[in-house]
């Protein structure tokens, strides 16, 4: 692993006297951080990933410095249960340890629950949870296998959020789906349709939707998701979901255009206008 080009500088390098010199060579720490057990193409990807994160405009605002005090890790609920700690991540970032960051992103980063306790208590005012969010964002953008795996159970949630503006619909609350909601939620889920029917608000007497958005609103919501680049990041990581959402979008947009067209020509009476896209 000795860099031949650096050998000529030997006499000036005090590390020459080090017994481990033959193994490590006179490499600066930054270069040594790139030495790892990663395969060459994976190392290249890891470097690209880290460069992309570092060049994000939020990175330098979020990462300020580290006193190595451990307040972040000791207040972290995820650190209690997993081999994960925010201080670990900050240290890798401060030292540019590409392969460690790569390892962190491919596994540990998904343990965070985004409670922001670390950010709130950090004596150096680092935006630690924001940095974790940044790593996750780029993991999705780079379509890393770990991101795929983690996001797989959330396909249905993503679909409802993007197409209907709802996150969780009542019928998602099933005994096995949210065990952390406790026995009460399981009990409630048995009679969900009865409860929903009792709601006096029109169109909420169903369990496949949380709240109702009109055709116009639904198209606007989807346009925002598309224009802000959310669907671009989904495209790489979940092509099927992307195609499905885009199909729905095109269809709705077309329907809306047609209705607008007809309305303009005076072919539609006011009572003929659809109250909800669900009725179409």
């Amino acid at each position: 692993m000795v860099n031949k080009a650096l050998l000529s500088t030997l006499p000036d390098d005090p590390r020459y006297l080090d017994a481990s010199y033959n193994v490590q060579g006179p490499l600066p720490e930054e270069d040594r951080n790139l030495l790892s057990n990663l395969k060459p193409e994976e190392r290249e990807l890891a470097k690209q990933f880290w460069e992309a994160v570092k060049s994000d405009f939020r990175f330098n605002e979020y990462l300020r410095g580290c006193l190595n005090c451990g307040v972040c890790t000791s207040g972290c609920p995820a650190a209690k249960f997993y081999d994960f700690g925010p201080r670990e991540m900050i240290q890798y970032m401060m030292r540019n340890e590409v392969d460690k960051i790569w390892e962190f992103v491919n596994k540990k980063v998904w343990a965070c629950v985004q409670c922001y306790t670390c950010s709130m208590r950090c004596p150096f005012n680092n935006e630690i949870a924001g940095l974790i969010m940044l790593l996750r964002e780029y993991a999705v953008k780079f379509a890393l296998p770990s991101a795929k795996e983690v996001l797989a159970p959330y396909r249905r949630v993503l679909l409802t959020v993007i197409t209907m503006g709802n996150q969780v619909t009542p019928d998602m609350i099933q005994p096995d789906a949210f065990p952390d909601w406790g026995p009460q939620a399981v009990e409630e889920s048995k009679n969900m349709d009865v409860y929903r029917k009792a709601i006096p608000v029109d169109l909420l007497q169903r369990t496949d939707i949380g709240w109702h958005s009109s055709l116009q609103t639904a198209v606007e919501i989807m346009t925002i998701f598309i224009e802000s680049g959310v669907l671009d990041s989904i495209k790489k990581i979940d092509k099927d979901l992307y195609d499905m959402i885009m199909d729905i979008y095109e269809e709705r947009k077309q329907t809306l255009e047609e209705i607008k067209e007809k309305w303009k020509k005076g072919e539609l009476k006011e009572e003929d206008l659809p109250d909800s896209w669900l009725e179409l």
């Binding site: 451990g70 890790t73 000791s74 650190a79 201080r87 670990e88 004596p123």
Partner: protein
Amino acid sequence: MAQEKVLVIGAGPAGLSAARELTNLGVDVILVERESYLGGTPKKLKYSLLFPELRPASEVLDPLIKSVEENSNVKIYKESIVEGAKSEGNGFIVSIKDKNGKVTTEKVGAIIAASGFEHFDSRRKYEYGYGIIPNIYQISDVERMLSENKLVTTKGTPPKRVAILLCVGSRDATVGNTYCSRVCCAVSIKQAMEIKQRIPDAVVHIYYMDIRTYGLMEDKLYWKSQLEYRVGYIRGRISEFMRGPDDTVVIKGEDTMNLNRALVVPYDMVILANGMELGLGSKQVAKALGLEFEEHGFVKPLDPDRFPVLSTRKGVFLAGAITGPKTISDSITEGTAAAIKAYEYVTKGVWEEPVKVQVSSH
């Protein structure tokens, strides 16, 4: 030449030292103190032993107090504050208000502001639960408990397991104090040794980020506490405390010498090493005298390197913790320095302004 007078604000180590030096030089002193006694914060909070020599605080302070109190050239206003200082010639007309609201005016040639610091109030770090969870104390509370020999938990028994957490309210941007308070490491280690002297079978752990027993204190405190008292040092800052069973305090921290190793440990007593802040008293003094503040909220000296005891207002001198966290010995030294500067000013009118010096590089 009329008899010159100098106003000294604050009767702590710095103010007392300045007053003593001035009377030695033949200058009359008017001493204004907010409390009903002299001695400042060390007396107010009943400090036990002083670091690094482990000698009683009164051994250092009582001779100072005595020399000032018994001196007929020192006029002492107790339970009073300085309300304002109007410039007149090179001197000042100061108004001194006592606790009944009675205002007295005095004509003085110079002013030494030595009104000191206040301890950080740990209730501002709400996750530490100070004032809510029993058996959590600050170093400023423990000094009194030690000097009155009443170091006991709420159960009335001496603590068998004690944790001391450093840097509470210092080096912490979440409370806006990004400076180091300098003395808390030394005070905490001193308290750990005092606890071990009295309760030899107690377990004392100090939670630290860096131990700053700078200079000659390294072996007298940091090394000695390990060699002779077996005080334990754990590297990591505690992030929160919980009330445990039987009035114990459970700490949550990370042992930062090992990656991701969480610590959840019960203790009988927890001591927070709360830092130093300027405090309301000194802020009032700075406002009354028209002084400027520096970036950490302390009073700004004219030049921190060349004129550390001169203020930005002509004729006003600074001594002690009003310009930043200081030890008692530093404060006494600064009191002496401010006294000689004030003496030069009232007798010869010496007031140096920092000169801009052109340097070849930088």
